[in-house]
Each structure stands twice: as C-alpha cells, then as structure tokens.
Homo-oligomer: 208 residues x 2
C-alpha cells in the first residue's frame, strides 16, 4: 500500500464507502463498475480507479468491484473496524439534533458523552445521555479522541483548547469560525454555506 | 474562461473563498501566496494554482494573489453577487439551529421561509421567521430555488419531491438518506460521519 496518499484522496474514500454501502443495502448488489459508482457520485470513473489504485488492485476488467470486499477494505483503511467514542460539546438545538442523528449507527461512531457550560443544561437528558458540566471534560474524556463542537462561535476556540488539553485529536466543528489547534490535531468544518456555494455555480442568476 | 470545469474543482472554490475572506478579515491582508493558502487548507499549492488557472490569470510570480480581487472573482464565478433566498424545511432541533446559524451572513444566502408538516409547529417562531405549513410550500416557494432539508429521514424523499415540484433546483440534505431527484436538480449531503471518517484515517487504533 502506497504510504503517501494525498489528503484529497483520503477525503473521497468515505464517499465511496457510503455509496457502496447504500448500493449493497438497497439493491443487494454484489458488484459495481467504476462507471456506475462515478455516475452516482457525480465524478469521473478514471478518478475513482486512480484513487483506489493507491490501496491495491480492487477491480477486475469487465467485472467491476466486488462491493462487499471493497467496503471491508475501505472500512479497514479508514480505521473503522472499531467503534470510536465521540464527545459532543454543546447541548443546544444543534447538540440535540446531533445526539438523535441516526446516521452514526454502524458507521464507526457513537456519541458517548455530552457537555455544556450552561448550569441550566447540566443534568438534562439529550437522547440517551445526560449533559455533563463542561468544566469536568478533562476527567470525563479519558480515552476519547474525537469530539463534535456544537457551541456558539464565541465559545468555540476556548472549548477546542480544553478538548485538545484533554487529549482529543480530531474535532468536527459546526461553529462558523477558524480554530487554531496544535500540530497533530485535525479539524474539519461542517459549513452549510460551502455546500450551498458549490451548488449556486450551476444555478443561473435569473432563476431567482 | 474554460467552459468545462470539473465539479471537483468547483467544489474547492468555496473553500478558497472562505479562507481568503478569513485572511482579509482577520489580518487585513492584501496578498497571499498559493503556498500560504495551501498550508492553511491542508492541500498542495500546485493544486490551488491549477484549480484557479481554469478561470484566468490571478497570481503574479513573487507577489502572490491579490486577496480582495480574488474574493471578488470567486464571488462572481460562484454566482454570489446576489443574496439567494433559501427555504428551510423542518422546524425541529436542527431547523432551529440552522435558522440561528450566523455563518450565512454576507456569504450569499438568507433563510427567508421555514416549513414544517407538524400542526403543532406551524405558527411557531424560529429565529425571525414564523413556521409555515409544509402543505403550502408550492405557493410560498415562488422564486425560491434553494432549500435546506432538515426533516426526519422517513420524510426526506417526499419533502424533496414537493420541493422539486415547487421549482427548487438545489437541495442541501441533512437526513441520512440518498434522495432521488430529476436531472437538473442538485443535491448535497451534510453528513457528519463522512467528515469524521476523513479524520480517523489519521488516528491510530490504539489511541482509543
């Protein structure tokens, strides 16, 4: 396996994994061609073949990819053979929405603790969990390496600092801010505007 | 301007726009090198130069990109010189979170109407808006081409069908489902799991 995979390639693997899992679940399919996968994902089949070639030989000319095998390999490559515990910080509207999100199931993650710095929210139930005081994060986060940040923009940096101090190494941030974190800590931003802007390119201005 | 820009390139332009806007706002900067932009975005400078070259000549050797000019050009290319009205469907936790999201401001979008099919929610205030009955979408959506889908997974396809029938051409979907839409309608999925999976690749399994 190639040891220097560009981040941009890694970024596409979860999309392949999601689409293949949907094909397997919805259609009970055994094989898929790179062309079909490409069409469903709106990209080129050459791109998919090139991306996957970093990890070995998956497809056969004429037969396509063996869906279940490719799902297993992607699951392995992305370190999803275990279920990662995830800390959720922020028990507002967004925190409640994330705690009840059904998409985490069987995809490698489970929210195992919820924090808020609002004393009125501490002790409240969010989904199956009870909100803990954000001041207790350092102790409560033992062994948790992934956190979702669902706090107001003004609290995001201080919360990220506390998470990093507690050992968190990957943060999914919903606040519209740019976080500053040390080397070795990953941050990914969930930003609806970036997604909307990717679509307006294809809309004509007179359609408004 | 090149007329056949790959979708994958278009997809990166909002990231450039966001990062350049942050650099301009936070640091009052006039120019940026492709190297600096690349470092902040975790990609290669060659990729950035290649992406932007589709749209003309932006940077000067040794001087870098003129930030304000590049922001204006990207705003123009992505059709963000106007503010797009956006319909929000779903007034649950996620809908409330989106209605109060501060990141839409000055980035080309404004949520102008909110719908729900729950009679108990119709008439309720969400941010500055009043929840309308989803049954009235066809009339209320006149001129709206963009919608955000924040309904439960089981309601997502029927809601998408109604939005498309009402003239919506771009849907940002938060439900963990694959929507089926006619040609000419764009769908983008906001999926925290895809973002988390992009990060676990870089985490070692013994860190758990």
């Amino acid at each position: 396996m190639d040891q220097n995979i560009p981040d941009i390639v890694i970024g596409r693997l979860p999309l392949y994994l999601r689409e293949l899992s949907r094909m397997e679940a919805e259609q009970n399919r055994l094989t898929a061609s790179s062309q079909e996968l490409a069409e469903r994902l709106g990209m080129s089949s050459a791109q998919i073949r090139k991306d996957l070639s970093h990890f070995g030989e998956f497809g056969k000319q004429g037969t396509g990819y063996h869906i279940h095998y490719l799902i297993e390999r992607l699951t392995d490559i992305l370190h999803l053979t275990r279920e990662w515990p995830v800390a959720l910080v922020g028990a507002g509207f967004l925190g409640h929405a994330l705690a009840s999100y059904r998409g985490f199931q069987r995809r490698g993650f489970a929210i195992t603790c919820v924090f808020d710095n609002d004393p009125a929210k501490v002790g409240e139930r969010v989904g199956d969990l009870v909100v803990q005081d954000a001041a207790d994060m350092a102790d409560a986060l033992r062994g948790v390496r992934i956190a979702i940040l669902a706090v107001p923009a003004g609290d995001a940096q201080a919360t990220a600092d506390a998470l990093v101090a507690a050992g968190v190494r990957a943060i999914l941030c919903y606040a519209p801010v740019a976080l500053s974190v040390p080397d070795g800590v990953q941050v990914s931003y969930s930003d609806p505007v970036v997604q909307l802007q990717q679509m307006t390119y294809h809309l004509t201005l007179d359609e408004g």
